[in-house]
């Protein structure tokens, strides 16, 4: 069973949300269970044990602590990189950009928009969480991890398009994904070993063939879903054709 948690300091609201969440689970026929509704940070932390997975509905401001929700979310994110976090909050408590950087929550529900809206959003979020759960379990190595300074970052493998290096930035790896460009220190050889699903198409490119669109074996040019492309070295040409035709067969079957 996939656990769901709620943290909200206002009792009337808490009771309402509890009702919406239980209803939402029933409507979506989700394999989830509301494990607890808490009114204070202390009671939440007492009941909290790091989970492998979880869906968390958090109010940002608890009693007078403006950042209570954020702090708890940070802790959850640290323990469970794939946790689904939803903030239920008033408009002005949000620092959207900071939240996005620190927590990358699944959703923000605004209290200002009224109870009907909150009810609808909670139901939708339960549905999305259910879908994400299935998505994460399909691939064994589903996250690409890297480290900058003391902080760990993860990118969903499905989103990764390519890793490459540049001559003017030795020791740096650049990663292009569906929606971002990141850079970090490292060597492509290490990543090639660690993530065998990625293909080394020349000395400075390591690509995710799942996100490749077309390959022209005469010009040895490989195109990707975001419009970028890279050249495949002469040595790797045959190997790539083999992998691609195998993939094609798999998809036809």
């Amino acid at each position: 069973m996939f656990p769901v948690f709620l943290l909200e300091d206002n009792e009337i609201q808490r009771n309402k949300y509890t009702e919406y969440i239980t209803n939402g689970i029933l409507i979506n026929d989700a394999s989830m269970k509301l494990k607890g509704s808490f009114g204070t940070v202390d009671s939440f932390l007492q009941a909290y044990t790091p989970q492998e997975q979880g869906l968390y509905f958090l109010d940002m401001e608890i009693l007078d602590d403006k950042l209570a929700g954020l702090n708890i979310a940070e802790k959850i994110r640290q323990d469970t990189p794939l946790a689904q976090i939803v903030f239920i909050t008033t408009h002005d408590e949000l620092s959207l950009t900071t939240l996005e950087r620190k927590i990358a929550p699944m959703d923000y529900i605004l209290k200002d928009k009224g109870l009907e809206n909150i009810k609808q959003r909670i139901t939708e979020d339960i549905e999305t969480a259910q879908q994400n759960l299935q998505k994460y379990s399909h691939c064994s190595k589903n996250l690409l991890d890297y480290k900058i300074g003391g902080r760990y970052f993860s990118i969903l493998m499905d989103d990764v398009i390519m890793l490459y290096t540049q001559k003017d930035a030795p020791g740096r790896i650049f990663a292009i994904t569906r929606n971002q460009l990141a850079e970090f220190n490292g060597s492509l050889n290490t990543f090639e070993e660690e993530y065998p699903n990625l293909f080394r198409c020349n000395r400075s490119y390591l690509v995710n063939l799942d996100n490749a669109t077309t390959y022209d074996s005469r010009t040895r040019s490989l195109d990707f879903i975001d419009g970028s492309n890279c050249e495949v070295s002469f040595r790797k040409n045959k190997e790539l054709i083999k992998i691609l035709s195998r993939k094609l067969k798999k998809e036809i079957h």
Binding site: D64, S95, T97
Partner: protein, 448 residues
């Protein structure tokens, strides 16, 4: 000694005093007929006195003018600008006059092929004319040089006045002047030969130039020191202001939060009630609440949490630029303190470019909203600049020199960011597009 007719002596003295006064007026840029008449009278009187007192004349002359100024000044306070300019003029003119006389001597000796003072006595009429002419030429050269540095000199005057350095400058130049006079008087009394006197004057001129140079340097140093002091005071005031704004903001926000929760909690009660009046009243309050939402977001007062002056300065500056361009610029600083250690100048340059780019971009769209968020965990700081974005980006191209989403824009900014980051080894840039927002994050990894 050379014996010269008293008429010629009077002309020479008159010229020297008159030139001093004109130079003085030139420094202050104050010429008028009244001054001219009084200058001529004064110069004539002292020129005549000078026939009996020789070189001590200039010292008497200057002291007399200073004394008169002092007596007629309000509260017997010397006008420092006036006195400084007078002493400077006297210093310059005495040196130029002496140099002029010696140059004339050399010319006469060379022309006659004899190094004898007697020659000067024979040709005294021509000698005086020539030396005054040479003095005039020197004066012209001096004025030309001064004119070239006019702007700097004006700035220097302003600085002297601004930082009340007038008295120090006066003491310095007056003592230089007096010591020069003493040299002249003693060499007269001791009947020192012309050669020795000439070399003394040359050395003195060098000392004079060095002294004034030193003076300029001293004033500049004082100016910088004072500016730094003023900046500290200014920063302190700004910080105090920011703190008080922050307090008001916190109180307001607290009230708003309570208010919103109360309203939300009341909703079911109002819904259950039969009173139409109550429902209408509730609706009215809800509508007013929307206006309250505008009150608080992205308060510049939070910037006090950033401990680096250059970074804080940049953000404040950009905040006002955004305001003047009707851009909604939010700051998200959720921590109480942000500590920047090194590379602040590189960070300022990069952040400046990122903010400029964001401003530039939102100017072309309807949603004019830019957010700057800073987060710090341990030694890692992340600065994110966030703006709405309408089109798809090609991540691989945006850092190429000349890339821009706008055709009119030169787009060298991001290529520069890339270059700046390559030069250091603890900066990282992350570019992300999420919910139609472009987020560019500069990650700064702190030292050990």
């Amino acid at each position: 000694m050379v014996y010269i007719d008293w008429q010629l002596g009077l002309i020479a003295n008159f010229f020297m005093l008159f030139a001093t006064l004109q130079l003085h007026h030139y420094f202050l840029k104050s010429f008028s007929i009244r001054y001219l008449i009084s200058d001529i009278t004064l110069s004539l009187i002292f020129g005549y006195i000078g026939l009996f007192v020789d070189d001590i004349l200039i010292l008497l002359f200057i002291c007399f003018i200073l004394l008169v100024n002092w007596i007629f000044a309000k509260k017997h306070q010397l006008d420092m600008e006036n006195s400084n300019s007078l002493i400077m003029a006297a210093n310059v003119e005495v040196v130029l006059f002496s140099l002029g006389t010696y140059t004339a001597r050399i010319i006469f000796f060379v022309a006659n092929g004899e190094w004898k003072l007697r020659i000067l006595e024979i040709y005294q009429q021509n000698f005086i004319t020539v030396s005054i002419l040479i003095n005039l030429i020197y004066l012209a050269i001096f004025l030309l040089i001064i004119h070239k540095f006019h702007a700097q000199i004006v700035k220097l005057w302003i600085q002297i006045e601004q930082y009340n350095l007038g008295k120090r400058v006066f003491e310095m130049s007056f003592s230089v002047f007096v010591s020069f006079m003493i040299i002249l008087i003693i060499s007269d009394l001791q009947s020192v030969t012309a050669t020795i006197q000439a070399s003394t004057i040359l050395i003195f001129s060098v000392v004079l130039i060095v002294t004034y140079r030193q003076l300029i340097f001293f004033i500049r140093t004082m100016a910088i020191q004072n500016e730094a002091k003023e900046k500290v005071v200014y920063n302190k005031q700004l910080n105090e202001y920011l703190t008080s704004v922050q307090q008001q903001y916190t109180e307001l926000r607290k009230f708003k939060h309570d208010f919103q929760n109360i309203m939300l909690a009341m909703k079911p009660l109002v819904d259950d009630s039969d009173s139409v009046e109550l429902k209408d009243y509730y609706q009215d309050i809800v509508q007013e609440r929307d206006e309250m939402c505008l009150v608080s977001r992205g308060n510049i007062a939070q910037i006090g949490a950033v401990d680096s002056d250059p970074i804080r300065g940049l953000i404040i500056q950009k905040f006002f630029i955004a305001k003047s361009e009707q851009i909604d610029f939010h700051l998200e600083l959720t921590q109480k303190e942000y500590h920047f250690t090194n590379d602040t100048l590189v960070i300022v340059r990069i952040l400046g470019i990122l903010l400029d780019n964001a401003f530039e971009y939102v100017k072309g769209i309807s949603d004019k909203e830019v957010t700057c968020a800073i987060t710090q965990t341990d030694k890692t700081i992340e600065i994110t600049v966030d703006n709405p974005i309408k089109e798809n980006l090609n991540f691989k191209n945006i850092f190429k020199s000349g890339y821009s989403t706008k055709q009119s824009h030169s787009g060298f900014g991001l290529a520069n960011v890339r270059r700046l980051i390559s030069e250091t080894d603890n900066l990282y840039l992350e570019t992300k597009v999420l919910h139609d927002h472009l987020m560019m994050t500069l990650i700064i990894v702190g030292g050990d």
